[in-house]
Subunit: 100 residues, 2 copies
């Protein structure tokens, strides 16, 4: 099993190879709009029973999220390190925070 | 560099260890509301200049997205494999699809 934070970085790097040049030229504002559209498609897929489509929409939201992070210069591997040792608030695995 | 799809799965597994039991008990509908709240926090962070906060919000959206996938039984590693060989539409790295 690879390191979770490093794993997220690997996914981000792959999406960068495929999309970053174009996404960066578009800018983060319009890229956020694409991301939001995909979130809407995910919401619709969650209401349905087409598992293949649901899987696709989760992947698409993940891809738009990481490309948005790349445009803004955020290393998601570094960002995700906050979850490496359990819940960042209570430090538990599983989380033992009181439900908000 | 780890495999991008396997990397995303590793991140998902870590979030499952920390949060899945509680998130599953809450159900996907209310978990989606938490996810949407985090997307709003990300939008706010994108407008600001606090890089540390921006990093946190990207990580939080990623965490809520993957826990939502787990509740619905979606393996994000499998889902993300659609991006492993470049753009799923034009198969290019980089993507050469005409901009929509």
């Amino acid at each position: 099993m690879s390191d979770p934070a490093e794993g997220l970085r690997a996914f981000q790097k792959q999406i960068e190879r495929v999309y970053l040049e174009r996404d960066r030229a578009r800018g983060w504002e319009r890229t956020f709009v694409w991301f939001a559209e995909e979130v809407g498609e995910l919401a619709r897929a969650l209401h349905r029973t087409d598992e293949e489509n649901l899987k696709e929409e989760f992947a698409d939201v993940a891809a738009w999220l990481v490309t948005l992070a790349s445009i803004r210069g955020i290393d998601l591997g570094e960002a995700a390190a906050k979850y490496t040792d359990g819940c960042p608030r209570c430090h538990g695995t599983p989380c033992r925070c009181p439900e908000k």
